[in-house]
Structure formats: structure tokens, C-alpha cells
């Protein structure tokens, strides 16, 4: 029995933290979020060379062959600095191809994603705003051995930067290239400028048989993997929002003493800490279940996301409030985390969705 990270995982955490602190501190994030593309191609390339983009991709496909527990370490660190990049999008797309693709399909696309030469994204959510297969209404008309796709996908991560999409419809999944005929991408700016999403329209887009993924039933597992990844990133951000607020509370003096001495400041910070630590504990278990193929994975993922989304929403607001007046200036950082919580809360299902799902899974 060992419920801790290995030395290698701790080392990875240190390396990623050092890299991000050196190359992409919040001042740099603020610059990048004002650019049209919203991230640095140069850092993306470096991350590809460091092997981080391919971390959970199998070695035969050019990755490091590590698991979701390792990925959690990486994503917590990226969340901490609100690192803007198509990493989450590409990781989820790669997971979809890994889980649903045939060997040949994996060999075709995964190496391109692993080194960062192509950016991928999963296009699944639609106007129904449902995070399960029942919400999918994209039309897929059989066309020989392939399909013709028509419809809209929303909230597609890094849609504007993506080179290929993994598109989901009821009973099907396929890889569609960004430049395929009939694909239109429209960015939909978020109040969280560090996160890019967009609408992807498919107007009679022809998908060849070879691009239709072999095992579409894997969508459920893909969404579990994606949800765990999102949860790891948001918990890293939540933890840092607490850290920033604690540092401010130690420094800022009122009534002749640091405000962090007042229990009205101390207690909410302690409560936030309890929530983040507990959600992290559940997430680590969920990631382990996903790596082991344990039957409890879906329930654990849902409990982690539900708990974490709710906690982060509160942390975003309290971080602003506990900073007082400066808390809602552009100059201070709490608003960046507050805004991230607005993306993260509904992403891949909000608390209501995941609590409902967890309790239903427990009844099975």
C-alpha cells in the first residue's frame, strides 16, 4: 500500500515547476493572453522536445508511455500558473485516439501529437450542453464506408489552434483535419483570456473510412480521462489561488497587524485548504483507477470533479474578497483565477452533473 507519488513523479513536478517559473510566470501569461493566438509556439515546441506533450502517449508512438497519475503532476503545475497552451486539448485528443483508434489509426496520428507538431482537440459538446452521449445530435450520414458530418460543436478547446479534431456523434468517433472541406472554426472568447475555446461547424464534411475510429464505445472512458485531466489542472489553479491569498494576508496590515491574524480571514482559507486537499486525494485515487482499469474509476472521477469544481468556484470568489479593494483590480492576480474557475466549473460537467452521476453509479 502506497498512496504517494514516486521519486520520478516528484522530480517531474520540480522540473515542470522550474520550467514554468522560468519561462512562463504570470507576467508572461498576462502578455500571452493579450495575443491573438493566446499561447507561445516557442514554448510549445520546447515542451514537445522535453517529452511532456507525449507523456501519456505510448512509447511506440513517440511518447513516454506514462499514465494519468503522472499526467496529474504535470497538469497541477500547469494549472498553478494558468499556463496557456493547447496541452490539455492535445492530451484529450490523443487519449481519444488511443482509446478508440485501431493500431493503425494510433500509429497514424499519435506520433504527430506526441511531439507537438500537430495540435489536437476533442469536439464533443453541442448546444444541448450535455456531457453524455445522449446529448449528441451531430448528423452522421453513412457515405460508402465513411460518413458525412453536419452540425455544430461548441466549447472546443483551442479550436482555433487545432490541426485536427476528434469528433463525436452518437455511436461514432472520427478524426477530422482542420483544413478538411466544410470545417469552419469560430473562436468564442472566454472571460478567462488564458483559455481559448471555439465553435466548430461541420457542413457536409466527408470522413473517409480510415478516419472513423474503430471503437466508438470508448467515448465514456475518454470523457472520464478528460474530466480527470481538467480536475487536475483546476486543482493546481485553486491551490495557487489560496497561496496567493495567504501571502497577501501575511503582508497586508490593518488595525496594526497582518490581516492573516484575524480568524475572519484565517478560517475561510483553512476551509479552502481542506477542500482542495480532499479533492486532490479523491483525484489521485481516480487517476490510479483510470491507469489500473479499476471498475470504480467513473465514480471516483465524478466525485473528484464535482467536489473540485464547487471548491474552486468558491475559492475564486473568496480570493478576490479576501484581497479587499485590490482584489478586483486588473493589476492583482486573483481575477485571473476567478475567471479560470468560470471555465473550469462547467467544463466536462459541473457539480450537479457529476454528483448525479456518482450517486447513480453507486446504486448500480
Amino acid at each position: 500500500m502506497n498512496f504517494g507519488f514516486t521519486e520520478e513523479q516528484e522530480l517531474l513536478r520540480q522540473e515542470v515547476r522550474k520550467f514554468l517559473d522560468a519561462h512562463c510566470p504570470l507576467e508572461e501569461v498576462r502578455k500571452l493572453m493579450e495575443t491573438p493566438e493566446g499561447f507561445s509556439r516557442d514554448l510549445w515546441k520546447q515542451m514537445g522536445e522535453l517529452g511532456w506533450i507525449g507523456l501519456p502517449i505510448a512509447e511506440v508512438h513517440g511518447g513516454a508511455g506514462l499514465g494519468w497519475v503522472d499526467l496529474v503532476v504535470l497538469l497541477e503545475e500547469m494549472g498553478r500558473t494558468l499556463f496557456p497552451s493547447p496541452f490539455l486539448a492535445t492530451t484529450i485528443a490523443a487519449a481519444a485516439i488511443r482509446e478508440a483508434g485501431s493500431d493503425a489509426q494510433q500509429a497514424q496520428w499519435l506520433p504527430l501529437l506526441a511531439d507537438g507538431s500537430k495540435i489536437g482537440s476533442l469536439a464533443y459538446l453541442e448546444a444541448s450542453d450535455r456531457h453524455d452521449e445522449a446529448g449528441l445530435e451531430l448528423a452522421a450520414k453513412p457515405n460508402g464506408a465513411g460518413f458525412v458530418l453536419s452540425g455544430d460543436k461548441v466549447q472546443v478547446l483551442d479550436a482555433a489552434a487545432a490541426d485536427l479534431f476528434v469528433v463525436a456523434w452518437r455511436g461514432g468517433l472520427a478524426v477530422v483535419e482542420r483544413n478538411a472541406k466544410g470545417v469552419t472554426v469560430t473562436p468564442t472568447p472566454s472571460i478567462d483570456q488564458t483559455r481559448r475555446v471555439g465553435r466548430v461547424r461541420f457542413d457536409d464534411v466527408a470522413v473517409a473510412a480510415g478516419a472513423v475510429l474503430a471503437n466508438p464505445a470508448a467515448l465514456g472512458r475518454v470523457l472520464d480521462l478528460a474530466t480527470a485531466a481538467v480536475t487536475a489542472e483546476l486543482l493546481g489553479a485553486a491551490e495557487q489561488a489560496i497561496r496567493i491569498t495567504v501571502d497577501y494576508a501575511k503582508e497586508r496590515e490593518q488595525f496594526g497587524q497582518p490581516i492573516g491574524r484575524f480568524q475572519g480571514v484565517k478560517h475561510p482559507l483553512a476551509e479552502m485548504y481542506v477542500d482542495v486537499e480532499s479533492a486532490k486525494s479523491i483525484l489521485y485515487y481516480a487517476a490510479w483507477c483510470l491507469d489500473e482499469g479499476d471498475a470504480d474509476a467513473s465514480r471516483a472521477v465524478s466525485l473528484a470533479k464535482a467536489y473540485a469544481s464547487e471548491a474552486f468556484a468558491r475559492i475564486g470568489i473568496d480570493a478576490v474578497q479576501l484581497h479587499g479593494g485590490v482584489g478586483f483590480t486588473w493589476e492583482y492576480d486573483p481575477h485571473l483565477y476567478l475567471k479560470r474557475s468560470k471555465w473550469a466549473r462547467p467544463a466536462f460537467g459541473d457539480s450537479d452533473f457529476h454528483y448525479d452521476r456518482a450517486i447513480a453509479l453507486g446504486e448500480k
Binding site: A270, Y273, S278
Partner: protein, 383 residues
């Protein structure tokens, strides 16, 4: 990360299960005194009472993982406690093992293991609750005797106890309040001790006030050195930190809440089909799972020999929240009848909704736990 157990650990788990199959068959009346006597005799044979204690003093010398497995299997089968001398096993015994003289160990440890009598705990005072180290119970040495004058409060089961572990102030002139405290072991029938039970809000009386009026205690009954009392008390509270028993207890309680939700109605439907109720129950489940894996993380640190931080405070806070919440949701689901004393299930939920303070307030209130986390983990300035 690895949740697998070693073959030795699995073998021990099988041994515990076999014991339970044999000695706790379904339908056992665990309130029957003759069953409890037999249960404890067999557990004692296995050395599962005082399981973590060294073998030299009659304990089981168990590893941390063995302790976890035993607790987990026992909790899952709702087994009765192992041993009957609750405070003796929880902290009096460990303190004596760590700080006691050879004579004290021989005098007290076998009786604690055999459950010959109860111990109670004289820590809190009327003016020293959360701020325990400010305690003032006066103690003056006269030759080979300590003379104690003062009062203790919230002393659980004082009226049924034969001995008390007592914290007194031997030096009132210290600059650091934690110094100058001494720990004494005192027979409850010593002249000058008066016990007055406190009726609690459930109508029962588990606690008492204990008054000391020129109570004379031989110096040989001192545990540890004079002025070392704080240390003696604090270090004896350190134990296996997996929270496994608490987590299993809360899981069981949540199952009971769900079962109540199935047969309660809300807006003409079973309460368990109500979205609001379902989500509340799911939130509790998340917090229990949080506790479970917080405990596993703490345990992992403990196994690696790393010092523990405020992990126990995190789980204490979560547990406090859940203990209160379970009583609340149960009474809410009973609707207008929620306040009736014995109308539903013989009143067990009403008793539950009034009994959480023993767990929630005893051993440090939630606000104190938050201070501990804020100061020791987050590094915020002390009050």
C-alpha cells in the same frame, strides 16, 4: 501509487475475516454482556487488544498496516470494540508505556488490556477549554505527596471510573504556559474528590465536573517528570493516522441515511429520488472519500517515517461537518415529524441529531482545527 497489499498483509486480513466468521456470525446480539466478555477474551488471546503496543507489555507489536487492516475489517462487520477500557487503550496506556516507571507499567497496563476498570481523563477546566495549556488546577508538593485543589470539567464517564489521568499546574510562575504542567494518576476514591454529572442536551449524562479539595496523591503516582505533563499528554495522542475506523463508521451512517431517504417522502416521491436530497448525499459521499484518501496519504507519509502535519485536523473538520449534516438531513427528511421524540425509528435520528457535540466539540472544536491548519500549514500568524 499502489493500493495492493503484500501477501503477508493479505494473509493477516484472511485471519481477521476467519476470526469474524467464527466469532461474530450474523445475528449476534452484541449487547449481551456474556458475548462481550467472550469476545474480549478471544481478542485478548490474539493480542488484538493493545494491538499496536509492544509485546513486552502484553501488546500485539503490530505494524501500522496490520493495525489498519484489523480496524478496517472490524469496522466493516460492525464488530464491537476490542477491549472495554476505552481511554486506557486510547491514550492512558500509551502515555504510561512511553513515560511510566516499570512499577507503573506493571500496575496499570495488564488491567487496561483486561478491561478490569475504567479510566477517565481530567484535562479541561472551566476556564481552559480550547486553550487547554492555560489550565490552573493547583498542585503543591509536600514531601512525598502532591496536594491537588481545583476543578475539572467535561470529564467523560468520571462517575464510573476507578482512575483518572490528571493534568495539574505544579508551577504557576512559568513564562511559557505549557511548562509547569504535571501529569498525575489518581484513584477516583481518594478523599476530597467529588463528581457531579452534567446533564447534556440529549437528557443523558456522560460528562461530569470533578472537584478536588485537598486531594493527596503520592509522588510515585506522577507520570513523567514534574513539569513534563504537556509533553506526556500530547505525544500519547499520536497514533495510527489512517482514519479508517472513522471513515467506515461514516460510510455506514451514510448508508443508513440513504435507507431513510428511500422510505421518506418528499413532494409525494421517495426522498431518495429528489435531486436536492440526492446531491446532498453525493456531497457527503465525496467528503467521506476525501477523508478516506486523505487518511491514506497521511498513512503513506507515516509508513515512510515522514512527520505528519495537520492531516488529522483536515479529517476532524470533515468528520465534524458530516456528523452534524447526517443528523440534519435525517430530521429534514422526516418533515414535520422531525422534531417528534420517538415517532420514527424509535427516535434514533433525534438522538443522533442531538449527540454530535461529543464528537464535534470534544478534542478540539472546528474553529480550533481551522486555526491549526491556518497557522501550522498555511503559515498565517498566530492569534
Amino acid at each position: 501509487m499502489d493500493f495492493h497489499f503484500t501477501p503477508e498483509e493479505e494473509a493477516f486480513r484472511a485471519e481477521v475475516r476467519a476470526f469474524l466468521d467464527e466469532n461474530l456470525p450474523p445475528g449476534t446480539n452484541t449487547n449481551d454482556p456474556s458475548f462481550i466478555a467472550e469476545w474480549n477474551r478471544k481478542a485478548r488471546e490474539k493480542r488484538w487488544i493493545g494491538f499496536s503496543w509492544p509485546k513486552e507489555v502484553g501488546g500485539g507489536g503490530a505494524t501500522i498496516m496490520q493495525q489498519v487492516i484489523l480496524k478496517e475489517e472490524m469496522s466493516k462487520r460492525k464488530a464491537p470494540p476490542l477491549g472495554t477500557c476505552f481511554m486506557g487503550l486510547a491514550w492512558v496506556g500509551p502515555a504510561i508505556i512511553q513515560y511510566g516507571t516499570e512499577a507503573q507499567k506493571q500496575r496499570f497496563i495488564p488491567d487496561i488490556l483486561d478491561g478490569k476498570y475504567q479510566w477517565c481523563t481530567g484535562y479541561s477546566e472551566p476556564s481552559s477549554g480550547s486553550d487547554l495549556a492555560s489550565l490552573q488546577c493547583k498542585c503543591v508538593r509536600e514531601g512525598d505527596t502532591y496536594v491537588v485543589n481545583g476543578q475539572k470539567i467535561w470529564t467523560s464517564i468520571a462517575m464510573w471510573s476507578k482512575w483518572i489521568i490528571l493534568l495539574v499546574r505544579t508551577d504557576p510562575n512559568v513564562t511559557v504556559k505549557h511548562d509547569g504542567i504535571t501529569c498525575l494518576l489518581v484513584p477516583m476514591d481518594t478523599p476530597g474528590i467529588t463528581v457531579r454529572p452534567i446533564k447534556n442536551m440529549s437528557g443523558g449524562a456522560m460528562f461530569a465536573e470533578v472537584f478536588f479539595d485537598d486531594v493527596r496523591v503520592p509522588v510515585e503516582n506522577r507520570l513523567g517528570a514534574e513539569g513534563q505533563g504537556w509533553q506526556v499528554t500530547v505525544s500519547a495522542l499520536a497514533h495510527e493516522r489512517s482514519s479508517i475506523a472513522e471513515v467506515e463508521g461514516l460510510k455506514r451512517k451514510l448508508e443508513e441515511v440513504k435507507e431513510l431517504a428511500r422510505r421518506s417522502t418528499k413532494n409525494g416521491r421517495p426522498a431518495l429520488e429528489d435531486d436536492g436530497i440526492r446531491r446532498r448525499i453525493a456531497r457527503y459521499e465525496a467528503k467521506i472519500e476525501g477523508m478516506r484518501f486523505n487518511g491514506m496519504r497521511a498513512l503513506t507519509k507515516q509508513l515512510k517515517g515522514e512527520p505528519l502535519g495537520a492531516e488529522t485536523s483536515i479529517n476532524k473538520l470533515l468528520r465534524a461537518e458530516l456528523e452534524v449534516a447526517f443528523g440534519e438531513i435525517a430530521l429534514e427528511m422526516q418533515g414535520s415529524a422531525g422534531h417528534l421524540e420517538k415517532e420514527i425509528d424509535g427516535g434514533r435520528w433525534q438522538r443522533f441529531a442531538l449527540s454530535w457535540p461529543e464528537v464535534v466539540i470534544g478534542g478540539g472544536t472546528p474553529n480550533i482545527q481551522k486555526n491549526i491548519i491556518a497557522e501550522r500549514v498555511l503559515g498565517l500568524p498566530k492569534d
